[in-house]
C-alpha cells in the first residue's frame, strides 16, 4: 500500500501539471495555500453559523431553514474552491502531501464529515417537521464542528509531518 502511494507520488511529480507548479512554486504555492485558507474561512464559519443555530446559540430570529438557505450556497461554493486548490497542492507537491500522515487523516475526516452532512440533509428532507431526534441533531452539530476543527489543524500539520514519528510515510531527512 505505502509503496503504491510512493510510486503514485513519484509518477505524479513527473507529470507536466506538477512540473508547471514546481517551476513556479515560489509564488504559486503560497498563492494556492492562501486561497485555500480563505475558502476554509468561509466553510468553517458557515458550518459554525448553521451549527450555532441548531444548538440555539445564535440566529434566534432565523429558522433553521433560513439559516441553511443563507449559508448553504456559500458553503458549497467554498468547498468547490477547497477541492480545486487542494488538488492543485497535491499535484504541485505530491510527495509533501501524499506521504503525509496528516493528509490521510484529514481526508478520512473530510469523508466522515461529508457522510454526516449527507445523512443530515436526507433526514431533514424526509421529515422536515420533526427533523429526527433533536438531541441527535445537536450531537451531530457539535461532532461536525469538531471534525472541521480537526480538518483545519491537520491541514496545517501536513507541513510538519514529523510530529507523527514513524506513522509518517516520509523519508526522514
Amino acid at each position: 500500500m505505502t509503496s503504491a502511494i510512493r510510486e503514485f507520488a513519484e509518477w505524479l511529480s513527473h507529470t507536466s501539471p506538477s512540473i508547471l507548479i514546481q517551476t513556479h512554486n515560489a509564488s504559486v504555492i503560497p498563492t494556492i495555500q492562501s486561497i485555500h485558507i480563505i475558502a476554509i474561512g468561509v466553510v468553517l464559519t458557515s458550518v459554525l453559523m448553521i451549527d450555532l443555530r441548531i444548538l440555539g446559540w445564535a440566529g434566534h430570529d432565523q429558522t433553521l431553514r433560513e439559516t441553511t438557505d443563507r449559508f448553504g450556497p456559500w458553503l458549497s461554493w467554498a468547498l468547490l474552491v477547497l477541492l480545486i486548490t487542494g488538488i492543485s497542492m497535491v499535484v504541485g507537491e505530491p510527495v509533501r502531501a501524499l506521504l503525509s500522515f496528516s493528509f490521510w487523516l484529514k481526508m478520512f475526516l473530510v469523508a466522515l464529515g461529508t457522510l454526516i452532512a449527507t445523512f443530515l440533509q436526507i433526514t431533514a428532507k424526509r421529515n422536515e417537521q420533526t427533523l429526527v431526534n433533536r438531541r441527535t441533531v445537536k450531537s451531530l452539530a457539535i461532532l461536525t464542528l469538531l471534525i472541521w476543527v480537526g480538518i483545519v489543524i491537520l491541514g496545517r500539520l501536513i507541513a510538519y509531518d514529523y510530529v507523527w514519528g514513524s506513522w509518517s510515510l516520509k523519508p526522514t531527512a
Binding site: 511529480s13 512554486n25 503560497p30 485558507i37 491541514g155 523519508p171
Partner: protein, 186 residues
Amino acid sequence: MDIAGFLASVESSNLATAIRDSLYLFPLIESLHVLGLTLVFGTIVIVDLRLLGIASIQRPFTRITSDILKWTWAAFVWTATTGMLMFITNANVYYHNSFFRTKMVLLALAGLNVAIFELTSGRTVHHWHKDAAAPRAGRAAAILSLVLWITIIFMGRWIGFTTSQSKAPLEPGINADDLFPSPPPK
C-alpha cells in the same frame, strides 16, 4: 531598552525557548493560529456582505453584529495570542521581515477602518440597520475590510515561506527520486 535588545530578550525568554525546544509546540500553535484566523475572517465577511447588501439582507444589521461580533473578538484574541507565541520564537527575523511588517500595518489599518466606521455610519446605524445595504461610507468600509483581510491572509502565508528554512520552496526541476534515500539506520 532599544528594539534589538528587546527582541533579543523576548527570544531568550523561557516561553520562547520552550516553544523552540519542542518538536510539537510550534506546529500546534501555528495550526491553532490558522483555526482562529479562519473564524476571524469568516465572521467579518458575514458582516461586510451584510453592509454591502449582498447576503443576510432580510436581517437587521444590528441583529447580525450582536450575533456574530462576539465570536469575531474571541477568535481575534485567540489568533493574536497564538501569533505572538510564534513571533517570540524568532522575534528578530520576524521583525525584519517585510511581509510581517506589511501584515502589521494592514492589521492597524483594519482597526482604523473599524474605528472610522463606528464614528461615521456606525453613529446612524439605527436609521439604516433595516435597509438592504449600508450608506456609502459603510459600504466603502466593507470593501476596504474585505481587501485588507484577504491581503492579511496572503501576507501571513508569505511570512511562513520567507522566514523558515524548513519550509523554503523546493528547487525547480526537483527529482522525486532524490526524496527517497535508503532508510536511515534505526
